[in-house]
């Protein structure tokens, strides 16, 4: 039984491993056992997913970007068209 007990540090690391690579059977048992009992680690998992969503949205979306003035854009347009 003792071998199945892992720390919060290990449990939250496994949360990320689970998300990005998947867990082995023993890791999966350890993780489920720990997160069932530990509310702080459950909260971490939940917020980890929110951050994951935020990453997906802010990084892959093209709608949020730095503002550029028309004049700035135009000067680059001219530069490119000259080539």
């Amino acid at each position: 039984m003792k071998a199945l007990m892992i720390s919060c540090l290990k449990a939250t690391e496994l949360t990320e491993k689970r998300l990005h690579f998947g867990l082995s059977i023993s890791e999966s048992v350890q993780w489920h056992l720990h997160t069932t009992m530990c509310s702080a680690c459950r909260l971490y998992s939940k917020q980890s997913m929110i951050i994951e969503k935020a990453l997906e949205n802010t990084i892959s979306q093209t709608s949020h970007s730095t503002r550029i003035s028309d004049a700035e854009a135009q000067s680059l347009v001219n530069k490119i068209l000259k080539k």
């Binding site: 290990k10 939250t12 971490y44 802010t58 550029i68 530069k79």
Partner: protein
């Protein structure tokens, strides 16, 4: 005809492409170079362009490849290590338990449209910028190209174990940063 088409794209999409590139690389000259490269590639590959995707989507996919290349070439010079950021001691005690002062609380104000909220995106972006550069690059590369973590590991030259440990530490920091700079301020 093709030249004219390309020219019209340059006129129409340069601004969007530039602002996106600048947002990603935050260096003016590099961003401009990336946009110019994008049109060079577009000129070469114009025959491959199919009308079933919009020119804008197509140009952005070229630009994103260019940005990813940029990140990749940078990460070859700086080795990605876990130790480049803050320490785990900030969050866990010697036995690996949460420190008492890390009192995380529920994020109640997560509305479905939170990720479209510009103020939130700005805060989140600032938190991302605060991460150690190498971590930031690893993470951005993954979402920029929407690739599997395994592939990113190969590209950046780190082991999967290193990758999830980096993500873990990065998320601990992001979580703390968001807590302080967003959720705490938006609690009733």
């Amino acid at each position: 005809m093709n030249d004219k088409l390309l020219q019209s794209w340059v006129k129409e999409y340069t601004k969007d492409l530039l602002s996106w590139a600048l947002h990603k690389v935050s260096d003016r000259a590099t961003a401009e170079d990336l946009v110019q490269d994008t049109f060079l590639v577009a000129a070469e590959k114009l025959l491959l362009f199919r009308n079933d995707s919009s020119p804008k989507t197509w140009l952005f996919s070229i630009l994103n490849n260019k940005i990813a290349e940029q990140y990749r070439s940078k990460s070859k010079f700086t080795k990605v290590t876990i130790s480049s950021g803050g320490t785990l001691n900030d969050f866990f005690d010697e036995e690996g338990n949460w420190k008492k002062n890390i009192v995380a609380s529920e994020w109640e104000s997560v509305e479905p449209n939170l990720f479209d909220n510009h103020a939130f995106i700005e805060s989140f972006q600032k938190c991302l910028d605060n991460l150690p550069v190498e971590w930031n690059r690893c993470i951005i590369l993954k979402y920029l190209e929407q690739k599997e973590a395994t592939l990113i590991c190969q590209e950046v030259g780190i082991s999967p174990t290193n990758y999830w440990q980096i993500v873990h530490r990065a998320k601990l920091q992001l979580r703390e940063c968001l807590e302080k700079n967003w959720f705490n301020k938006h609690r009733e």
